[in-house]
Amino acid sequence: PETATRQRKEKEPFEIDFTSALDGKLAETIFTQASSNSAISLPKKDWKSKTRNLLPDDKHFNSKQLLSLFLKPKARMNSKRNRFNSRIGTSSHAAQSGSVHAADMDE
């Protein structure tokens, strides 16, 4: 009788049938203990993380760094030979994909 109120939840596609008795299979699922503690535990080697799960220092690479001179960071590279102009399109693309900063190694 107490469960009657809770049965209203069964409008959900997934139903918990509170009224019926526990059948053997379900009871087995619920009450079977793990064979050993280690069977349900994290392997000990995963308890410690070398990096403490921290990121390395970011070096913040960007397209600007790759497209400027080392000694004259303000001057545009190749501006004299004008070869640069043909690359304007690609450089804006570079900036785009570069801003993603996907610096992780595992792809």
């Binding site: 107490e2 469960t3 109120t5 809770r6 209203r8 939840k9 997934f14 139903e15 918990i16 509170f18 526990l22 379900l26 699922t29 619920i30 009450f31 079977t32 203990q33 793990a34 064979s35 503690n37 069977a39 349900i40 994290l42 308890w47 410690k48 993380s49 990096t51 799960n53 921290l54 990121l55 390395p56 220092d57 970011d58 070096k59 690479f61 960007n62 397209s63 790759l66 497209l67 001179l69 080392f70 000694l71 004259k72 303000k74 590279m77 190749n78 070869r83 399109g89 690609t90 693309h93 785009q96 994909s97 570069g98 900063h101 996907a102 610096a103 992780d104 190694m105 595992d106 792809e107």
Partner: protein, 843 residues
């Protein structure tokens, strides 16, 4: 949603009747109810994680138990409410019974049962105010085991409950009677260990937001600002730090780090959260009237106050964080962008300029920067309206320049007395002048009176020997801007700067020389236009008469003169673009100052001379060709820093004058390859070389296929080679460069394709060469599968930029030849291998 809530409410209250009835009525007694309740609880245990019904039912149980407990406690009356022992009530008995029944399920074989049981226990711990002591211990033990569960979802539920327990325990510890044993502190330690080490980001995040914030936990919590997982980092900025209360309780260096990490995070959402924290929370801590008590709604944002903003900047140590590449400028850019109220409230009146501090000048400088660079010019009018005209700014700059110089001279003269204080003062004065110059750099000099005033002021300032390096650099930049952008302007600029160099030289030589020998007449004029440096001449004349100390002082002074003059020249050359030979000033400077410096016996002079020579070489191709061997020599023989300088000079030269210099100088290619492989001996050099070669390839300076193949191959190998694992400069530069290079041009992608197989083979050999006994290969290096996947991805023609096709266009009809060629390369290779095996088998 409304119906759901109604059902929820109904569920919540209706069971109360049976419960109360259970006490009074006969048909069901309490034991029946509890047994039935427990039976239903069991029913929830196998529900999969994905079923939200499970979550809701568990929330329902928590709500019900809490409600029942409250009601029971109400019934007991207030007298017992404060009692130290927990009164036993029907609800506490029910709670205990349910918990006892669920406890063994924590070690169930089935992962969903473990998940739901852990979830239920944690949830109930978090729903109830108090729990019986014995039960508490059992729950704690049970949950502690689950923080090492195989399943991340179970662990993350376990830490939810334990986080609360750890919080209670600490509250208890402030009360000495209750802080009983070491096991209690052990719990917190364990959780902190999990926070650092758990492989699942979800678990770490769940702890981050549920652990109590305490002096002992705070460093661990803040450390998550650098967590590998972006959502966890974001939680630090969006949840932890706002919940922390006044940010001024954090240490100065911690504030700076948090701001820098957050605003420069690789993930946009983290950056946004950090920006919001700064401009909405931290400013409130400084400008707001009172702090909200816990649970109270946050007060309305305080009205903008300059004092609040000044304090905010002081609290992030703007003198240090506001320098170039410091984080304060980024922070303030976001601040101005997100706080229109502050933008409007700013009033830079005369009083403001007359009483500048490091903080207030930075307000003006960052505001000026923001208005001139953001919003496509829509803030230009705002800054024009608020900033004084050029003449006035020049007047203020003059004032602060002379205050700064006086401070420096004062500090120089009193060597020891009150040194720290003096030094702090000069640092602030320098900072103020630097910021003013940053504003001056952006001004419009069409007003002739203002232009003249500024020009004269800066020309004069540059002649002051005490002018600090950074101020010198900015002064030279402004001078370049004030002169016309054409060739004539550049010549005027050079002649003015070189005049100042001569003045500086004279001033230092005169100062303290006391006319003790003819040297003092050896003026800088002759340095610039004459034929010798101040280093050599006259050294012999009085050698015998000079004491050792005197000659040492003299030598030091000569080095100082040279260093200072070379620095000004270096700043100047950075801003020069025209041909060197067509500028007499530059030619004589090269011959009289730079070339002798490169030949100097004093290493610092020689190295600075080298940079100047490099800068000259960028303006003069024959000069570059003549000195290529010299730069290569500095690379081969120099220390690491000098090697890097040499590499950078060489790379800039190739960029400016073209790759023919590379093809006509076979040793030069060797320099690059050697530098790229310098690995463990010289990680910094390897890092610089990686960026240098990336530039050459991306800038299409090197296009000859043999050279570019060789370089690209070396780069890819460096990317995966375990020896660079610790070299973040190399890894991160390549992580950026390789995809950008491949996707920016079909030719580049094809070059990648052409070296892919060889590279893979080389990497295979490296992997095979790793000693299994010493280390775990997979820890050290990506698998060949991963490497192969990268190569395939980099050669994916769909990802390549195509002229005229927007990047987000549907890319179905793409020329797929690159991948086809790649596949045929592989087949050919396989075929070759097969036949060679076949041959060897038969021979």
């Amino acid at each position: 949603a409304v119906t759901l809530r109604k059902i929820h409410e109904a569920c919540c209250y209706e069971p109360m009747r049976p419960n109360k009835n259970a006490d009074a009525a006969d048909d069901f007694d309490e034991a029946d109810f509890n047994a039935e309740f427990t039976r239903c609880v069991f029913r929830i245990m196998p529900v999969k994680k994905s079923e939200s019904v499970g979550d809701r039912t568990i929330r329902f149980i928590g709500l019900f138990l809490r409600h029942a407990n409250d009601k029971d406690n109400d019934l007991l009356g207030e007298t017992d409410a404060d009692a130290s022992t927990m009164p036993e009530t029907p609800s506490s008995r029910l709670t205990a019974e349910v918990m006892e029944a669920v406890l063994p399920l924590l070690a169930s074989k089935d992962k969903f049962v473990r998940y739901r049981s852990t979830q239920l226990i944690s949830h109930i711990i978090n729903s109830l105010d108090a729990i019986d002591d014995d039960l508490f211990q059992k729950l704690r033990q049970g949950l502690l085991k689950r923080i090492r569960d195989k399943e991340a979802v179970v662990r993350s539920q376990a830490v939810l409950g334990l986080g609360r327990l750890a919080g209670n325990q600490i509250e208890g510890m402030t009360n000495p009677e209750e802080s009983d044993d070491d096991a209690e502190t052990g719990l917190l330690e364990k959780l902190l260990e999990v926070l650092q080490n758990d492989p699942s980001a979800e678990v770490r995040r769940s702890l981050l937001v549920n652990l109590p914030i305490l002096p002992a936990t705070l460093p661990y919590l803040l450390e998550r600002a650098r967590d590998q997982d972006a959502a966890t980092r974001r939680a630090v900025y969006a949840r932890l730090l706002p919940a922390l209360g006044d940010f001024r309780h954090l240490s100065l260096s911690m504030r700076e780090k948090l701001l820098r990490w957050g605003l420069r995070d690789r993930d946009e959402n983290v950056r946004k959260a950090a920006g919001r924290l700064f401009r909405e929370r931290w400013i409130e801590d400084c400008a707001g009237v009172t702090q909200p008590e816990d649970g109270e709604a946050p007060p309305e944002p305080a009205a903008p106050t300059l004092d609040g903003l000044l304090e905010l900047l002081e609290r992030i140590d703007v003198v240090n964080s506001g320098v170039e590449n410091g984080v304060a400028l980024e922070a303030m850019k976001g601040f101005w962008g997100g706080r229109p109220d502050y933008r409007d409230a700013m009033d830079f009146n005369d009083k403001f300029w007359e009483t500048l501090s490091a903080e207030s000048v930075f307000v003006a400088r960052s505001f000026n920067d923001f208005c001139r660079t953001e919003g496509n010019g829509k803030y230009e009018a705002l800054v024009e309206e608020k900033l004084p005209e050029v003449t006035k700014i020049a007047y203020f700059l003059e004032r602060y320049l002379s205050v700064m110089i006086e401070a420096i001279q004062r500090a120089n003269n009193q060597d020891n007395v009150g040194e720290d204080e003096e030094e702090e003062d000069t640092v602030e004065q320098e900072f103020i002048v630097e910021q003013l110059l940053h504003i001056v750099l952006t001004l419009d000099y069409s007003d002739e009176v203002g232009r003249r005033k500024m020009f004269a002021l800066l020309r004069q300032a540059l002649s002051i020997p005490e002018l600090p390096d950074e101020v010198t650099k900015l002064t030279v930049e402004v001078l370049r801007d004030i002169c016309a952008p054409d060739n004539a302007g550049e010549k005027e600029f050079c002649s003015v700067v070189l005049e100042a160099v001569a003045d500086v030289h004279d001033a230092i030589v005169d100062d303290g020389a006391n006319g003790d020998d003819d040297e003092s007449f050896h003026s800088a004029r002759s340095e610039v236009s004459g034929n010798s440096t101040p280093t050599r001449k006259g050294k012999n004349t009085k050698d015998t008469e000079m004491s050792e100390e005197e000659s040492r002082d003299k030598a030091i002074k000569e080095i100082m003169i040279n260093m200072k003059c070379l620095h000004i020249v270096q700043c100047m050359l950075t801003n020069v673009e025209g041909n060197l030979q067509q500028n007499d000033h530059l030619v004589s400077m090269l011959n009289n100052l730079v070339v002798p410096a490169v030949r100097s016996h004093e290493a610092p002079v020689r190295e600075r001379g080298l940079v100047c020579l490099g800068l000259c070489a960028l303006l003069d191709r024959p000069l570059a060709e003549e000195n290529l061997t010299l730069f290569i020599h500095f690379f081969s023989k120099g220390h690491a820093a000098l090697q890097i300088t040499a590499l950078q000079i060489l790379t800039d030269i190739l960029n400016v004058h073209g790759a023919q210099l590379l093809s006509s100088n076979p040793t030069l290619l060797k320099v690059y390859v050697k530098a790229l492989r310098s690995g463990s001996r010289n990680p910094e050099v390897q890092g610089a070389a990686t960026v240098a070669v990336s530039k050459l390839l991306l800038g299409r300076v090197v296009t000859d296929s043999e050279t570019s193949s060789e370089l690209l191959k070396t780069l890819i190998i460096a990317y995966f080679d375990p020896s660079t694992a610790g070299n973040q400069s190399v890894r991160q530069a390549l992580n950026y460069f390789l995809p950008v290079f491949c996707y920016s041009r079909a030719e580049n992608q094809d070059l990648m394709r052409s070296v892919a197989l060889d590279t893979l083979h080389a990497l295979y050999n490296i992997r095979e060469g790793i000693d299994d006994d010493e280390m775990d290969v997979d820890d050290e290096m990506a698998s060949l599968n991963t490497i192969g996947a990268c190569l395939v991805d980099w050669t994916d023609p769909r990802k390549c930029y195509m002229p005229g096709v927007p990047m987000d266009a549907d890319r179905k009809n793409v020329n797929g030849d690159v991948h086809l060629d790649f596949a045929s390369d592989i087949l050919e290779k396989l075929n070759g291998n097969l036949s060679s095996k076949y041959m060897s088998h038969h021979s």
